[in-house]
Protein backbone atom coordinates (compact mmCIF):
# COMPACT_ATOMS: atom_id res chain seq x y z
CA UNK A 1 0.00 0.00 0.00
CA UNK A 2 1.34 3.47 -0.83
CA UNK A 3 2.53 5.66 2.00
CA UNK A 4 -0.08 8.37 1.50
CA UNK A 5 -2.86 5.88 2.25
CA UNK A 6 -1.27 5.33 5.65
CA UNK A 7 -0.82 9.06 6.15
CA UNK A 8 -4.48 9.72 5.37
CA UNK A 9 -5.58 7.03 7.79
CA UNK A 10 -3.24 8.30 10.50
CA UNK A 11 -4.58 11.84 10.21
CA UNK A 12 -8.19 10.63 10.17
CA UNK A 13 -7.46 8.43 13.20
CA UNK A 14 -5.97 11.32 15.15
CA UNK A 15 -8.91 13.62 14.36
CA UNK A 16 -11.48 10.98 15.38
CA UNK A 17 -9.29 10.31 18.41
CA UNK A 18 -9.63 13.94 19.50
CA UNK A 19 -13.41 13.54 19.62
CA UNK A 20 -12.97 10.26 21.53
CA UNK A 21 -10.63 12.16 23.83
CA UNK A 22 -13.24 14.81 24.59
CA UNK A 23 -15.78 12.09 25.39
CA UNK A 24 -13.30 10.34 27.67
CA UNK A 25 -12.37 13.67 29.26
CA UNK A 26 -15.91 13.80 30.61
CA UNK A 27 -15.53 10.37 32.21
CA UNK A 28 -12.14 11.28 33.61
CA UNK A 29 -13.36 14.53 35.17
CA UNK A 30 -16.30 12.73 36.81
CA UNK A 31 -14.14 9.95 38.21
CA UNK A 32 -11.34 12.29 39.23
CA UNK A 33 -13.64 14.37 41.42
CA UNK A 34 -16.78 12.40 42.30
CA UNK A 35 -14.98 9.00 42.41
CA UNK A 36 -17.95 7.38 40.72
CA UNK A 37 -17.39 5.42 37.55
CA UNK A 38 -20.01 6.53 35.07
CA UNK A 39 -21.06 3.29 33.38
CA UNK A 40 -23.72 5.20 31.43
CA UNK A 41 -21.21 7.50 29.76
CA UNK A 42 -21.68 6.21 26.21
CA UNK A 43 -25.43 6.06 26.72
CA UNK A 44 -25.40 9.73 27.70
CA UNK A 45 -23.40 10.43 24.59
CA UNK A 46 -26.00 8.71 22.44
CA UNK A 47 -28.65 11.03 23.92
CA UNK A 48 -26.55 13.95 22.69
CA UNK A 49 -26.14 12.30 19.29
CA UNK A 50 -29.89 11.91 18.89
CA UNK A 51 -30.40 15.53 19.94
CA UNK A 52 -28.04 16.55 17.15
CA UNK A 53 -29.81 14.28 14.64
CA UNK A 54 -33.25 15.65 15.56
CA UNK A 55 -32.11 19.27 15.43
CA UNK A 56 -30.56 18.63 12.03
CA UNK A 57 -33.41 16.74 10.43
CA UNK A 58 -36.19 18.94 11.85
CA UNK A 59 -34.63 22.40 11.59
CA UNK A 60 -31.57 21.87 9.41
CA UNK A 61 -29.29 23.02 12.22
CA UNK A 62 -25.64 22.09 11.75
CA UNK A 63 -24.29 19.83 14.57
CA UNK A 64 -21.17 21.99 14.76
CA UNK A 65 -23.26 25.07 15.56
CA UNK A 66 -25.50 23.08 17.91
CA UNK A 67 -22.50 21.84 19.87
CA UNK A 68 -22.84 24.47 22.60
CA UNK A 69 -26.65 24.26 23.03
CA UNK A 70 -26.50 20.45 23.15
CA UNK A 71 -23.65 20.60 25.66
CA UNK A 72 -25.82 22.97 27.73
CA UNK A 73 -28.76 20.55 27.67
CA UNK A 74 -26.51 17.67 28.72
CA UNK A 75 -25.03 19.91 31.43
CA UNK A 76 -28.50 20.33 32.93
CA UNK A 77 -29.19 16.61 32.57
CA UNK A 78 -25.91 15.74 34.29
CA UNK A 79 -26.53 18.17 37.13
CA UNK A 80 -29.99 16.75 37.80
CA UNK A 81 -28.67 13.19 37.65
CA UNK A 82 -25.89 13.74 40.17
CA UNK A 83 -27.95 15.93 42.50
CA UNK A 84 -31.01 13.70 42.43
CA UNK A 85 -29.75 10.16 42.05
CA UNK A 86 -26.01 9.68 42.43
CA UNK A 87 -25.16 11.97 45.36
CA UNK A 88 -26.91 9.67 47.88
CA UNK A 89 -24.78 6.78 46.50
CA UNK A 90 -21.41 8.47 47.06
CA UNK A 91 -20.81 6.56 50.29
CA UNK A 92 -22.19 3.24 49.02
CA UNK A 93 -19.89 0.43 47.84
CA UNK A 94 -18.66 0.36 44.25
CA UNK A 95 -20.86 -2.51 43.09
CA UNK A 96 -23.92 -0.66 44.35
CA UNK A 97 -22.97 2.48 42.42
CA UNK A 98 -22.20 0.33 39.42
CA UNK A 99 -25.66 -1.22 39.45
CA UNK A 100 -27.41 2.10 39.89
CA UNK A 101 -25.71 3.51 36.82
CA UNK A 102 -26.15 0.30 34.83
CA UNK A 103 -29.90 0.48 35.53
CA UNK A 104 -29.79 4.03 34.25
CA UNK A 105 -27.92 2.92 31.14
CA UNK A 106 -30.51 0.20 30.44
CA UNK A 107 -33.27 2.79 30.68
CA UNK A 108 -31.49 5.27 28.38
CA UNK A 109 -30.65 2.73 25.64
CA UNK A 110 -34.17 1.34 25.52
CA UNK A 111 -35.90 4.70 25.80
CA UNK A 112 -33.89 5.79 22.74
CA UNK A 113 -34.90 2.55 21.04
CA UNK A 114 -38.58 3.25 21.73
CA UNK A 115 -38.41 6.84 20.50
CA UNK A 116 -36.11 6.50 17.49
CA UNK A 117 -36.30 2.84 16.48
CA UNK A 118 -33.37 0.54 15.74
CA UNK A 119 -32.45 1.97 12.32
CA UNK A 120 -29.31 4.00 11.82
CA UNK A 121 -29.79 7.72 11.36
CA UNK A 122 -27.37 10.02 9.62
CA UNK A 123 -26.57 13.69 9.43
CA UNK A 124 -25.84 14.75 5.84
CA UNK A 125 -24.19 18.15 5.96
CA UNK A 126 -23.38 20.15 2.84
CA UNK A 127 -19.67 19.59 3.52
CA UNK A 128 -19.97 15.84 4.21
CA UNK A 129 -17.82 14.93 1.20
CA UNK A 130 -15.45 17.92 1.24
CA UNK A 131 -11.80 17.49 1.98
CA UNK A 132 -8.64 19.55 2.24
CA UNK A 133 -5.44 18.77 0.40
CA UNK A 134 -2.48 19.29 2.72
CA UNK A 135 0.61 18.35 0.73
CA UNK A 136 0.31 14.60 0.18
CA UNK A 137 -2.44 14.21 2.78
CA UNK A 138 -6.15 14.35 2.09
CA UNK A 139 -8.05 15.50 5.20
CA UNK A 140 -11.78 14.87 5.54
CA UNK A 141 -13.48 18.24 6.24
CA UNK A 142 -16.04 16.88 8.76
CA UNK A 143 -13.33 15.19 10.77
CA UNK A 144 -11.12 18.29 10.67
CA UNK A 145 -13.94 20.49 11.99
CA UNK A 146 -14.87 17.92 14.64
CA UNK A 147 -11.27 17.53 15.80
CA UNK A 148 -10.79 21.31 15.93
CA UNK A 149 -13.97 21.79 17.94
CA UNK A 150 -12.91 19.04 20.34
CA UNK A 151 -9.60 20.84 20.99
CA UNK A 152 -11.41 24.13 21.57
CA UNK A 153 -13.90 22.59 23.99
CA UNK A 154 -11.18 20.75 25.90
CA UNK A 155 -9.11 23.94 26.12
CA UNK A 156 -12.09 25.83 27.54
CA UNK A 157 -12.53 23.12 30.18
CA UNK A 158 -8.82 23.19 31.08
CA UNK A 159 -9.03 26.95 31.50
CA UNK A 160 -12.14 26.64 33.66
CA UNK A 161 -10.50 24.20 36.08
CA UNK A 162 -7.23 26.09 36.13
CA UNK A 163 -8.34 29.71 36.47
CA UNK A 164 -11.92 30.04 37.71
CA UNK A 165 -12.81 30.07 41.41
CA UNK A 166 -15.41 27.33 40.97
CA UNK A 167 -12.91 25.22 39.04
CA UNK A 168 -10.39 25.64 41.86
CA UNK A 169 -13.06 24.68 44.40
CA UNK A 170 -13.84 21.52 42.44
CA UNK A 171 -10.15 20.61 42.39
CA UNK A 172 -10.08 21.15 46.14
CA UNK A 173 -12.94 18.64 46.53
CA UNK A 174 -11.03 16.14 44.44
CA UNK A 175 -7.81 16.59 46.43
CA UNK A 176 -9.33 16.44 49.90
CA UNK A 177 -12.99 15.68 50.44
CA UNK A 178 -12.98 16.24 54.19
CA UNK A 179 -10.86 19.36 53.87
CA UNK A 180 -13.31 20.77 51.35
CA UNK A 181 -16.18 20.16 53.76
CA UNK A 182 -14.22 21.76 56.62
CA UNK A 183 -13.60 25.01 54.77
CA UNK A 184 -17.31 25.23 53.98
CA UNK A 185 -17.50 24.21 50.34
CA UNK A 186 -20.89 22.95 49.19
CA UNK A 187 -19.51 19.57 48.11
CA UNK A 188 -22.82 18.15 46.89
CA UNK A 189 -23.34 21.14 44.63
CA UNK A 190 -19.76 20.95 43.35
CA UNK A 191 -20.13 17.22 42.67
CA UNK A 192 -23.30 17.88 40.70
CA UNK A 193 -21.48 20.64 38.82
CA UNK A 194 -18.63 18.27 38.01
CA UNK A 195 -20.98 15.58 36.73
CA UNK A 196 -22.71 18.28 34.69
CA UNK A 197 -19.38 19.31 33.16
CA UNK A 198 -18.60 15.68 32.32
CA UNK A 199 -22.03 15.40 30.70
CA UNK A 200 -21.39 18.61 28.76
CA UNK A 201 -18.22 16.99 27.38
CA UNK A 202 -20.21 14.05 26.04
CA UNK A 203 -22.80 16.51 24.77
CA UNK A 204 -20.21 18.29 22.68
CA UNK A 205 -18.44 15.08 21.66
CA UNK A 206 -21.72 13.39 20.72
CA UNK A 207 -22.78 16.34 18.62
CA UNK A 208 -19.51 16.18 16.68
CA UNK A 209 -19.56 12.41 16.46
CA UNK A 210 -22.71 12.57 14.32
CA UNK A 211 -20.51 14.04 11.57
CA UNK A 212 -18.32 10.93 11.66
CA UNK A 213 -20.61 7.93 12.34
CA UNK A 214 -24.23 6.84 11.85
CA UNK A 215 -26.35 6.96 15.00
CA UNK A 216 -28.07 3.88 16.48
CA UNK A 217 -29.32 3.23 20.03
CA UNK A 218 -26.87 0.36 20.56
CA UNK A 219 -23.86 2.69 20.21
CA UNK A 220 -24.15 3.58 23.89
CA UNK A 221 -22.50 0.55 25.53
CA UNK A 222 -19.79 0.50 22.86
CA UNK A 223 -18.84 4.09 23.63
CA UNK A 224 -18.95 3.46 27.36
CA UNK A 225 -16.35 0.72 26.96
CA UNK A 226 -14.32 2.85 24.58
CA UNK A 227 -14.33 5.74 27.06
CA UNK A 228 -13.01 3.36 29.75
CA UNK A 229 -10.27 2.05 27.57
CA UNK A 230 -9.19 5.59 26.70
CA UNK A 231 -9.36 6.97 30.21
CA UNK A 232 -7.42 4.10 31.75
CA UNK A 233 -4.86 4.20 28.98
CA UNK A 234 -4.37 7.92 29.51
CA UNK A 235 -4.69 7.83 33.29
CA UNK A 236 -7.97 8.08 35.23
CA UNK A 237 -8.36 11.60 36.55
CA UNK A 238 -5.76 13.13 34.24
CA UNK A 239 -7.30 15.56 31.76
CA UNK A 240 -4.37 15.64 29.37
CA UNK A 241 -4.18 11.85 29.65
CA UNK A 242 -7.74 11.48 28.41
CA UNK A 243 -6.97 13.46 25.27
CA UNK A 244 -3.71 11.61 24.70
CA UNK A 245 -5.47 8.27 25.26
CA UNK A 246 -8.20 9.31 22.83
CA UNK A 247 -5.68 10.10 20.12
CA UNK A 248 -3.80 6.85 20.78
CA UNK A 249 -6.93 4.71 20.62
CA UNK A 250 -8.31 6.59 17.60
CA UNK A 251 -5.01 6.01 15.83
CA UNK A 252 -4.87 2.33 16.85
CA UNK A 253 -8.39 1.69 15.63
CA UNK A 254 -7.78 3.43 12.33
CA UNK A 255 -4.55 1.53 11.64
CA UNK A 256 -5.99 -1.81 12.80
CA UNK A 257 -8.98 -1.23 10.52
CA UNK A 258 -6.64 -0.61 7.61
CA UNK A 259 -4.17 -3.42 8.22
CA UNK A 260 -6.51 -6.15 9.52
CA UNK A 261 -10.26 -5.94 9.43
CA UNK A 262 -12.40 -3.01 10.70
CA UNK A 263 -14.59 -5.33 12.79
CA UNK A 264 -11.56 -6.44 14.84
CA UNK A 265 -10.31 -2.92 15.51
CA UNK A 266 -11.55 -2.65 19.09
CA UNK A 267 -9.66 -5.84 19.96
CA UNK A 268 -6.46 -3.87 19.57
CA UNK A 269 -7.83 -1.13 21.77
CA UNK A 270 -8.52 -3.73 24.48
CA UNK A 271 -5.07 -5.22 24.03
CA UNK A 272 -3.57 -1.77 24.68
CA UNK A 273 -5.77 -1.44 27.76
CA UNK A 274 -4.55 -4.76 29.17
CA UNK A 275 -0.91 -3.84 28.54
CA UNK A 276 -1.34 -0.45 30.18
CA UNK A 277 -3.14 -1.92 33.20
CA UNK A 278 -0.33 -4.41 33.70
CA UNK A 279 2.72 -2.28 33.14
CA UNK A 280 1.53 1.20 34.00
CA UNK A 281 -1.73 0.80 35.96
CA UNK A 282 -1.95 4.52 36.67
CA UNK A 283 -2.11 5.18 32.91
CA UNK A 284 0.28 7.03 30.64
CA UNK A 285 -0.10 10.42 32.34
CA UNK A 286 -1.78 9.40 35.57
CA UNK A 287 -0.50 9.58 39.10
CA UNK A 288 -0.29 6.41 41.15
CA UNK A 289 -3.23 6.13 43.50
CA UNK A 290 -2.34 5.02 46.97
Amino acid sequence: MPVDVYLNVVVAGILTGLVYGLMALGLSVIFGVVRVVNFAHGEMMSIAMYLAVVLFSAFGLDPLLMLVPIAAVMFAFGYALQAGLINPFITRPEHSQFLLIVALAIIIVNALLIVFGPDAQTVQTSYAYDSFQLGPVLVDASKAYAGGAAIAFAAALFAFFRFSRVGTAIRACADNYTGALVIGLDVKHLYALTFALGAACVGAAGSMMTLIVDVTPVLGPTYTLLAFVIVITGGLGSMAGALLGGILIGLTEALAGLMFTPSAKSMFAFAILVLVLLFRPQGLLGQRLS
Binding site: L99, L100, I106, A111, V229, L277
Partner: protein, 338 residues
Protein backbone atom coordinates in the same frame (compact mmCIF):
# COMPACT_ATOMS: atom_id res chain seq x y z
CA UNK B 1 -29.93 -35.68 54.91
CA UNK B 2 -30.48 -35.44 58.65
CA UNK B 3 -32.09 -32.44 60.25
CA UNK B 4 -28.85 -31.60 62.02
CA UNK B 5 -26.80 -31.44 58.85
CA UNK B 6 -29.58 -29.47 57.17
CA UNK B 7 -29.38 -27.01 60.01
CA UNK B 8 -25.68 -26.55 59.43
CA UNK B 9 -26.37 -26.08 55.73
CA UNK B 10 -28.73 -23.18 56.38
CA UNK B 11 -26.08 -20.86 57.68
CA UNK B 12 -27.27 -20.53 61.29
CA UNK B 13 -29.08 -22.46 63.93
CA UNK B 14 -32.55 -21.23 63.15
CA UNK B 15 -35.11 -24.02 62.76
CA UNK B 16 -37.14 -21.82 60.46
CA UNK B 17 -34.43 -21.69 57.87
CA UNK B 18 -34.42 -25.48 57.67
CA UNK B 19 -38.16 -25.50 57.17
CA UNK B 20 -37.86 -22.82 54.51
CA UNK B 21 -35.11 -24.68 52.69
CA UNK B 22 -37.01 -27.96 52.82
CA UNK B 23 -40.19 -26.32 51.51
CA UNK B 24 -38.29 -24.65 48.69
CA UNK B 25 -36.59 -27.90 47.78
CA UNK B 26 -39.85 -29.88 47.74
CA UNK B 27 -41.55 -27.18 45.68
CA UNK B 28 -38.71 -27.14 43.16
CA UNK B 29 -38.55 -30.95 42.94
CA UNK B 30 -42.31 -31.20 42.40
CA UNK B 31 -42.52 -28.25 40.00
CA UNK B 32 -42.40 -30.18 36.67
CA UNK B 33 -45.60 -32.05 37.60
CA UNK B 34 -47.43 -28.87 38.46
CA UNK B 35 -46.38 -26.18 36.01
CA UNK B 36 -46.80 -25.97 32.23
CA UNK B 37 -43.98 -25.90 29.69
CA UNK B 38 -43.75 -22.12 29.67
CA UNK B 39 -43.35 -21.85 33.44
CA UNK B 40 -40.87 -24.71 33.39
CA UNK B 41 -38.70 -22.77 30.96
CA UNK B 42 -38.96 -19.74 33.23
CA UNK B 43 -37.88 -21.91 36.16
CA UNK B 44 -34.90 -23.12 34.15
CA UNK B 45 -33.91 -19.50 33.51
CA UNK B 46 -34.31 -18.72 37.22
CA UNK B 47 -32.14 -21.66 38.30
CA UNK B 48 -29.56 -20.83 35.64
CA UNK B 49 -29.40 -17.29 36.99
CA UNK B 50 -29.24 -18.57 40.58
CA UNK B 51 -26.34 -20.86 39.64
CA UNK B 52 -24.28 -18.20 37.85
CA UNK B 53 -25.09 -15.73 40.62
CA UNK B 54 -23.81 -18.18 43.21
CA UNK B 55 -20.61 -18.66 41.20
CA UNK B 56 -20.03 -14.91 40.80
CA UNK B 57 -20.83 -14.34 44.46
CA UNK B 58 -17.78 -16.41 45.46
CA UNK B 59 -15.53 -13.81 43.90
CA UNK B 60 -17.33 -10.62 44.84
CA UNK B 61 -19.58 -11.56 47.75
CA UNK B 62 -17.01 -13.68 49.56
CA UNK B 63 -13.56 -12.46 48.49
CA UNK B 64 -14.52 -8.90 47.52
CA UNK B 65 -13.11 -8.96 43.97
CA UNK B 66 -15.50 -7.19 41.60
CA UNK B 67 -15.59 -9.10 38.31
CA UNK B 68 -17.61 -7.61 35.48
CA UNK B 69 -16.43 -10.12 32.90
CA UNK B 70 -17.87 -13.44 34.00
CA UNK B 71 -19.39 -13.98 30.56
CA UNK B 72 -15.83 -14.95 29.61
CA UNK B 73 -15.89 -18.14 31.73
CA UNK B 74 -19.42 -19.13 30.72
CA UNK B 75 -18.52 -18.48 27.09
CA UNK B 76 -15.38 -20.59 27.32
CA UNK B 77 -17.34 -23.44 28.93
CA UNK B 78 -19.95 -23.21 26.20
CA UNK B 79 -17.49 -23.11 23.33
CA UNK B 80 -15.10 -25.80 24.60
CA UNK B 81 -17.88 -28.31 25.23
CA UNK B 82 -19.72 -27.42 22.01
CA UNK B 83 -16.63 -27.73 19.82
CA UNK B 84 -15.77 -31.10 21.39
CA UNK B 85 -19.33 -32.28 20.79
CA UNK B 86 -19.72 -30.98 17.24
CA UNK B 87 -16.26 -31.83 15.92
CA UNK B 88 -15.34 -34.92 17.93
CA UNK B 89 -18.65 -36.26 19.22
CA UNK B 90 -17.47 -35.96 22.82
CA UNK B 91 -20.32 -35.65 25.31
CA UNK B 92 -20.99 -32.61 27.48
CA UNK B 93 -19.81 -34.12 30.78
CA UNK B 94 -16.38 -34.95 29.39
CA UNK B 95 -16.59 -31.60 27.62
CA UNK B 96 -17.19 -29.98 31.00
CA UNK B 97 -14.08 -31.68 32.38
CA UNK B 98 -12.17 -30.18 29.47
CA UNK B 99 -13.80 -26.76 29.85
CA UNK B 100 -12.95 -26.42 33.54
CA UNK B 101 -9.18 -26.30 33.07
CA UNK B 102 -9.56 -23.81 30.23
CA UNK B 103 -11.78 -21.49 32.27
CA UNK B 104 -9.64 -21.93 35.40
CA UNK B 105 -6.48 -21.20 33.43
CA UNK B 106 -8.06 -18.04 32.04
CA UNK B 107 -9.20 -16.97 35.48
CA UNK B 108 -5.77 -17.73 36.86
CA UNK B 109 -4.06 -15.61 34.19
CA UNK B 110 -6.38 -12.65 34.87
CA UNK B 111 -6.06 -13.10 38.62
CA UNK B 112 -2.29 -13.51 38.52
CA UNK B 113 -1.78 -10.43 36.35
CA UNK B 114 -4.18 -8.31 38.37
CA UNK B 115 -3.15 -9.35 41.89
CA UNK B 116 0.60 -9.43 41.18
CA UNK B 117 0.56 -5.99 39.59
CA UNK B 118 -1.73 -4.51 42.24
CA UNK B 119 -4.68 -3.91 39.92
CA UNK B 120 -7.65 -3.61 42.29
CA UNK B 121 -11.14 -2.16 42.68
CA UNK B 122 -12.53 -0.39 39.63
CA UNK B 123 -9.35 -1.11 37.69
CA UNK B 124 -9.71 -4.84 38.32
CA UNK B 125 -13.36 -4.69 37.22
CA UNK B 126 -12.38 -3.02 33.96
CA UNK B 127 -9.55 -5.52 33.40
CA UNK B 128 -12.12 -8.33 33.59
CA UNK B 129 -14.36 -6.50 31.09
CA UNK B 130 -11.37 -6.06 28.80
CA UNK B 131 -10.60 -9.80 28.76
CA UNK B 132 -14.24 -10.71 28.11
CA UNK B 133 -14.48 -8.17 25.28
CA UNK B 134 -11.18 -9.40 23.89
CA UNK B 135 -12.60 -12.92 23.82
CA UNK B 136 -15.84 -11.72 22.23
CA UNK B 137 -14.10 -10.03 19.33
CA UNK B 138 -11.50 -12.80 19.09
CA UNK B 139 -14.12 -15.57 18.85
CA UNK B 140 -15.99 -13.42 16.34
CA UNK B 141 -13.01 -13.89 14.03
CA UNK B 142 -12.02 -17.43 14.97
CA UNK B 143 -12.71 -19.79 12.08
CA UNK B 144 -12.48 -22.95 14.26
CA UNK B 145 -15.67 -21.95 16.06
CA UNK B 146 -17.34 -20.66 12.89
CA UNK B 147 -16.62 -17.04 13.88
CA UNK B 148 -19.59 -14.66 13.86
CA UNK B 149 -21.71 -17.09 11.80
CA UNK B 150 -22.27 -19.03 15.02
CA UNK B 151 -21.82 -22.60 16.19
CA UNK B 152 -24.83 -24.91 16.04
CA UNK B 153 -25.25 -28.15 17.93
CA UNK B 154 -27.07 -30.96 16.13
CA UNK B 155 -30.55 -31.49 17.54
CA UNK B 156 -31.87 -35.06 17.56
CA UNK B 157 -35.45 -35.96 18.14
CA UNK B 158 -35.02 -38.58 20.81
CA UNK B 159 -37.85 -40.52 22.36
CA UNK B 160 -36.04 -40.80 25.67
CA UNK B 161 -34.00 -38.38 27.72
CA UNK B 162 -30.28 -38.85 27.38
CA UNK B 163 -28.68 -37.20 30.40
CA UNK B 164 -25.22 -38.37 29.40
CA UNK B 165 -25.44 -36.39 26.15
CA UNK B 166 -27.74 -33.68 27.56
CA UNK B 167 -30.30 -34.33 24.84
CA UNK B 168 -33.91 -34.35 25.93
CA UNK B 169 -36.98 -32.39 26.94
CA UNK B 170 -37.10 -29.31 29.19
CA UNK B 171 -37.91 -31.45 32.25
CA UNK B 172 -34.51 -33.14 31.99
CA UNK B 173 -32.73 -29.81 31.62
CA UNK B 174 -34.72 -28.56 34.58
CA UNK B 175 -33.49 -31.32 36.86
CA UNK B 176 -29.92 -30.94 35.61
CA UNK B 177 -29.82 -27.22 36.42
CA UNK B 178 -31.69 -27.82 39.68
CA UNK B 179 -29.08 -30.37 40.74
CA UNK B 180 -26.31 -27.97 39.70
CA UNK B 181 -27.87 -25.11 41.66
CA UNK B 182 -28.23 -27.26 44.78
CA UNK B 183 -24.64 -28.44 44.39
CA UNK B 184 -23.45 -24.83 44.02
CA UNK B 185 -25.45 -23.80 47.08
CA UNK B 186 -23.99 -26.62 49.18
CA UNK B 187 -20.49 -25.93 47.89
CA UNK B 188 -20.78 -22.23 48.71
CA UNK B 189 -22.08 -23.05 52.17
CA UNK B 190 -19.16 -25.43 52.78
CA UNK B 191 -16.65 -22.90 51.40
CA UNK B 192 -18.08 -20.11 53.50
CA UNK B 193 -17.68 -22.12 56.70
CA UNK B 194 -14.22 -23.40 55.83
CA UNK B 195 -10.88 -21.79 56.62
CA UNK B 196 -10.83 -20.50 53.06
CA UNK B 197 -14.22 -18.80 53.54
CA UNK B 198 -13.04 -16.98 56.64
CA UNK B 199 -9.86 -15.92 54.86
CA UNK B 200 -11.98 -14.57 52.00
CA UNK B 201 -14.18 -12.57 54.32
CA UNK B 202 -11.10 -11.16 56.00
CA UNK B 203 -9.73 -10.12 52.59
CA UNK B 204 -13.08 -8.63 51.59
CA UNK B 205 -13.37 -6.57 54.76
CA UNK B 206 -9.79 -5.29 54.94
CA UNK B 207 -7.11 -6.78 52.76
CA UNK B 208 -4.18 -5.09 54.45
CA UNK B 209 -5.37 -6.16 57.88
CA UNK B 210 -5.85 -9.71 56.57
CA UNK B 211 -2.30 -9.78 55.23
CA UNK B 212 -0.97 -8.38 58.47
CA UNK B 213 -2.81 -11.15 60.32
CA UNK B 214 -1.02 -13.72 58.20
CA UNK B 215 -3.60 -14.52 55.54
CA UNK B 216 -1.83 -15.36 52.25
CA UNK B 217 -4.08 -12.92 50.39
CA UNK B 218 -2.64 -13.47 46.92
CA UNK B 219 -3.14 -17.23 47.05
CA UNK B 220 -6.67 -17.05 48.43
CA UNK B 221 -7.78 -14.42 45.93
CA UNK B 222 -6.45 -16.74 43.21
CA UNK B 223 -8.50 -19.63 44.66
CA UNK B 224 -11.60 -17.43 44.58
CA UNK B 225 -11.15 -16.55 40.89
CA UNK B 226 -10.37 -20.13 39.91
CA UNK B 227 -13.28 -21.74 41.80
CA UNK B 228 -15.65 -19.09 40.51
CA UNK B 229 -14.41 -19.57 36.93
CA UNK B 230 -14.76 -23.36 37.15
CA UNK B 231 -18.34 -23.16 38.41
CA UNK B 232 -19.29 -20.55 35.83
CA UNK B 233 -17.91 -22.70 33.02
CA UNK B 234 -20.53 -25.35 33.86
CA UNK B 235 -23.22 -22.74 33.28
CA UNK B 236 -21.70 -22.28 29.82
CA UNK B 237 -21.86 -26.02 29.08
CA UNK B 238 -25.52 -26.03 30.12
CA UNK B 239 -26.20 -22.95 28.00
CA UNK B 240 -24.65 -24.55 24.91
CA UNK B 241 -26.67 -27.77 25.16
CA UNK B 242 -29.90 -26.06 26.18
CA UNK B 243 -29.96 -23.46 23.43
CA UNK B 244 -27.98 -25.44 20.83
CA UNK B 245 -26.55 -22.31 19.23
CA UNK B 246 -23.66 -20.07 20.17
CA UNK B 247 -22.78 -16.64 18.83
CA UNK B 248 -19.76 -14.80 20.26
CA UNK B 249 -21.75 -11.57 20.08
CA UNK B 250 -24.28 -13.05 22.51
CA UNK B 251 -22.28 -15.46 24.64
CA UNK B 252 -19.44 -13.10 25.52
CA UNK B 253 -21.58 -9.96 25.53
CA UNK B 254 -21.06 -7.67 28.51
CA UNK B 255 -24.84 -7.91 28.97
CA UNK B 256 -24.38 -11.57 30.02
CA UNK B 257 -21.84 -10.51 32.65
CA UNK B 258 -24.20 -7.87 33.99
CA UNK B 259 -27.07 -10.39 34.15
CA UNK B 260 -24.92 -12.64 36.33
CA UNK B 261 -24.26 -9.77 38.72
CA UNK B 262 -27.82 -8.48 38.99
CA UNK B 263 -29.19 -11.52 40.85
CA UNK B 264 -26.74 -11.59 43.77
CA UNK B 265 -26.68 -7.80 44.13
CA UNK B 266 -30.47 -7.51 44.14
CA UNK B 267 -30.81 -10.56 46.35
CA UNK B 268 -28.08 -9.66 48.80
CA UNK B 269 -24.39 -9.79 48.07
CA UNK B 270 -22.24 -12.21 50.06
CA UNK B 271 -25.22 -14.22 51.31
CA UNK B 272 -26.12 -17.78 50.33
CA UNK B 273 -29.78 -17.04 49.67
CA UNK B 274 -29.17 -13.73 47.90
CA UNK B 275 -28.34 -15.17 44.46
CA UNK B 276 -31.31 -17.57 44.64
CA UNK B 277 -33.78 -14.94 45.76
CA UNK B 278 -32.38 -12.39 43.32
CA UNK B 279 -32.84 -14.85 40.45
CA UNK B 280 -36.48 -15.38 41.40
CA UNK B 281 -37.13 -11.66 41.80
CA UNK B 282 -35.45 -10.58 38.56
CA UNK B 283 -36.59 -13.35 36.24
CA UNK B 284 -40.04 -13.17 37.81
CA UNK B 285 -40.09 -9.44 37.19
CA UNK B 286 -38.99 -9.81 33.57
CA UNK B 287 -41.57 -12.51 32.83
CA UNK B 288 -44.35 -10.59 34.60
CA UNK B 289 -43.51 -7.58 32.45
CA UNK B 290 -43.69 -9.82 29.37
CA UNK B 291 -47.11 -11.11 30.39
CA UNK B 292 -48.42 -7.63 31.22
CA UNK B 293 -47.13 -6.23 27.93
CA UNK B 294 -48.79 -9.05 26.02
CA UNK B 295 -52.08 -8.60 27.92
CA UNK B 296 -52.14 -4.85 27.30
CA UNK B 297 -51.23 -5.43 23.68
CA UNK B 298 -48.20 -3.18 23.94
CA UNK B 299 -45.56 -4.33 21.51
CA UNK B 300 -42.88 -1.66 21.46
CA UNK B 301 -39.31 -2.91 21.37
CA UNK B 302 -37.47 -1.61 24.41
CA UNK B 303 -40.55 -0.81 26.51
CA UNK B 304 -40.09 -3.90 28.69
CA UNK B 305 -36.43 -3.10 29.31
CA UNK B 306 -37.26 0.46 30.35
CA UNK B 307 -39.66 -0.82 33.02
CA UNK B 308 -37.11 -3.43 34.04
CA UNK B 309 -34.49 -0.70 34.43
CA UNK B 310 -36.84 1.45 36.48
CA UNK B 311 -37.71 -1.46 38.81
CA UNK B 312 -34.01 -2.19 39.19
CA UNK B 313 -33.36 1.44 40.04
CA UNK B 314 -36.10 1.44 42.69
CA UNK B 315 -34.79 -1.73 44.34
CA UNK B 316 -31.21 -0.45 44.40
CA UNK B 317 -32.23 2.89 45.86
CA UNK B 318 -34.67 1.44 48.39
CA UNK B 319 -32.75 -1.66 49.55
CA UNK B 320 -29.01 -0.98 49.80
CA UNK B 321 -28.23 -4.47 51.13
CA UNK B 322 -30.45 -6.27 48.62
CA UNK B 323 -33.74 -8.04 49.25
CA UNK B 324 -32.60 -10.98 51.39
CA UNK B 325 -30.95 -9.42 54.48
CA UNK B 326 -33.96 -7.24 55.47
CA UNK B 327 -36.36 -10.05 54.55
CA UNK B 328 -34.42 -12.55 56.66
CA UNK B 329 -34.52 -10.20 59.64
CA UNK B 330 -38.24 -9.69 59.15
CA UNK B 331 -38.84 -13.43 59.10
CA UNK B 332 -36.65 -13.86 62.15
CA UNK B 333 -34.19 -16.05 60.24
CA UNK B 334 -31.12 -14.09 61.19
CA UNK B 335 -30.33 -12.09 64.25
CA UNK B 336 -31.20 -8.41 64.21
CA UNK B 337 -28.67 -6.04 62.72
CA UNK B 338 -25.88 -5.40 65.21
Amino acid sequence: MSAASLTRLGGDDSRRIVVLLALLLVALLAAPWVVNDYLLTVLILILYSAFTGQAWNIMMGFAGQLSLGHALYAGLGAYVSAVLFVDFGIGPWIGFLAAVPVAVACGAVIGFLAFRFGVAGVYFAILTIAFAEFARIGFDHLAVVNASAGLFLPVHQTAHNDVWHLRGDPTMFYYVILAASIAAFVLCRLLLKSRMGYYWLAIREDEQAARAAGVPTFRYKMYAVMISAALTSFAGVFYAFFYNNLFPEQVFNIGRSIEMILGPVIGGIGTLFGPVLGAFVLTGLAETLNAVMAAVGLDIPGAKQVFYGICLLVVIVALPEGVWPPLARRLGLTKAKP
